[in-house]
């Protein structure tokens, strides 16, 4: 791998001699290091099967953290439920046959000091008494691709597959909150699922949303994905769907919602899932969780990103024949406007053809065709959203390893 300095030196020398790099060379303008997972992660990552799932990439057994292989995102706008990634923070989950999870027993409580009308709703009530809506949205772990950041950061060492897309069906959180009648002091909506820590002293996984996001028409209490009940490991029987925002907010097995007039200060909001202030082009602010002049802020919307789904590093492709590069691109809800592909290591870029538009919270499939001659090709893809935000060439460092949207580079060989 050529370092940036070597490249610049050589480029200057070549430029001075009136030469330029030959066509089709893998070295390009952008010296993106080849991403590698920690060796210990690779060694531990086996294909394994959880109940209700097909074999997925096991990152950890307990709590279960399982990743979707990238090939399953290729030419498929809906990630199959049995292939959808699994992410738990705490190991004490209700058993699948726990009576509390049964459709007839499940209860969602809504309360807190900022509602006038605390209430409990059963699942049949939720389904019957509120308008049902559907939307397509990407669900992506904040730490997706953490395993690829350099230098490595401790955590679940995910590759590219801690994400998926589904058609979610449920009711608007807004409609449910309206029945509970919010007081004007309502500041945050705090919510908890049935997952519990093993030790009493471990902070329970409780999250909060600013009231404005909770009242967004797209924020749902969902019981169905892709036309089927949620799988157990994706939050059966009910989870929050927070389109555009990272999956940390999409609490599974959601059982309690409290609307409060003060910022929630639990560990998973105040300390975890934070990003440095001002480093990302984020427009969805969560101001009640910020301290004036403080160093960080809760992670909110996903950054613009793309993924090549049909090529592997060092794959052999056929010279002289049309080759398709395919993938997906997504962002935090503005919508993807443009995907560009480079086949010469980043020296030149061509627009890809965009696939069907399933809404601003959905990923957009894309494809690009080119006819290679013999030689090595550095394939890159770069997405831009409707706000003009794009991907980075270098990871924006942050302590917990979030928001990896470095432009992917896959070198292939045409033979």
């Amino acid at each position: 791998m050529t370092t940036r300095r070597e490249f610049l030196t050589r480029g200057l020398a070549l430029g001075a001699a009136g030469l330029w790099l030959p066509q089709g060379r893998a070295e390009g303008l952008f010296d993106i290091p080849v991403p590698t997972l920690p060796p210990g992660d690779v060694e531990q990552s086996v294909m394994a099967t959880l109940p209700g799932k097909r074999p997925l990439i096991k990152r950890t057994w307990r709590p279960a953290n399982f990743e979707t292989p990238v090939a399953l995102f290729d030419r498929s706008d809906f990630t199959p439920n049995d292939a959808f990634f699994v992410r738990w923070h705490l190991a004490d989950l209700p058993e699948a046959n726990d009576p509390r999870l049964a459709e007839t027993n499940y209860v969602l409580k809504i309360g807190g000091d900022a509602v006038e009308n605390p209430l409990s709703l059963s699942l049949p009530q939720l389904k019957r008494e509120f308008e049902q809506v559907e939307l397509v949205a990407v669900c992506q772990c904040s730490g997706n691709r953490r395993g690829l950041v350099q230098p490595h950061v401790a955590g679940v060492e995910w590759g590219y597959g801690a994400m998926g897309q589904a058609r979610w069906r449920g009711v608007r959180l807004r409609d449910v909150l309206n029945r509970a009648r919010l007081r004007k002091e309502a500041l945050e909506v705090v919510y908890d699922g049935l997952d519990r820590p093993v030790l009493e002293k471990t902070p329970d996984f409780i999250k909060s949303l600013p009231v404005w996001k909770a009242l967004d028409e797209n924020t749902l209490l969902a019981w169905e994905m892709n036309g089927e009940p949620l799988p157990y490991h994706n939050g059966y029987p009910l989870r929050l769907v927070v389109p555009g925002w990272t999956a940390t907010y999409w609490v599974k097995m959601i059982s309690e919602i409290n609307v409060v007039s003060k910022p929630y200060d639990g560990f998973w909001m105040k300390t975890a899932y934070r990003v440095p202030m001002g480093k990302f082009p984020v427009t969805d602010r969560f101001i009640s969780q910020e301290v004036p002049g403080g160093p960080n802020t809760p992670i909110t919307e996903m950054v613009v990103n793309s993924l090549i789904t049909n090529l592997e590093p060092n794959q052999k492709i056929r010279a002289g024949q049309w080759t398709e590069v395919r993938g997906i691109a997504w962002d935090g809800g503005r919508g993807i406007r443009l995907v560009e592909v480079s086949t010469d290591g980043g020296r030149s870029w061509q627009p890809a053809e965009l696939g069907r538009d399933l809404g601003n919270f959905a990923w957009r499939s894309w494809s690009y065709r080119f006819k290679p001659r013999k030689g090595r090709y550095g394939i890159l893809a770069k997405a831009t959203n409707a706000a003009g935000s794009t991907q980075t060439f270098q990871w924006i460092a942050n302590p917990a390893g979030y928001h990896h949207n470095v432009i992917q580079r896959i070198d292939v060989e045409a033979v």
Partner: protein, 94 residues
């Protein structure tokens, strides 16, 4: 299952642990038993090799202290250096 105490968790560990995590083989060495006892209460020990080898001693110390101070792991103070030694030696950055 409802939340139970650390002691009960220890007693119940063989039952609570998933069959599949039994295939995790940590490297042999002094301190391995302490790691098995204390870390595996709340999570499978594949978290350790997964996060290797890129943490130095300070990094592993930070992880162990987070588990005690933030996550409430009841690890006796005298076991901390033994655990950190083991993690640094076998799963630390060389």
């Amino acid at each position: 299952m409802k939340t139970f105490t650390a002691l009960a968790a220890l007693l119940l560990l063989p039952l609570a642990a998933q069959a599949d995590e039994s295939q995790i083989k940590l490297k042999d060495g002094p301190g391995k038993d302490k790691v098995a006892i204390h870390c595996a209460v709340c999570h499978s020990t594949d978290y350790i090799p997964m996060n290797s080898p890129f943490l130095d001693r300070k990094g592993w110390e930070g992880v162990v202290n987070k588990m005690i101070k933030v996550m409430g792991a009841p690890i006796p103070q005298e076991d901390v250096p033994v655990i950190v030694d083991y993690l640094t030696r076998h799963y630390g950055k060389s």
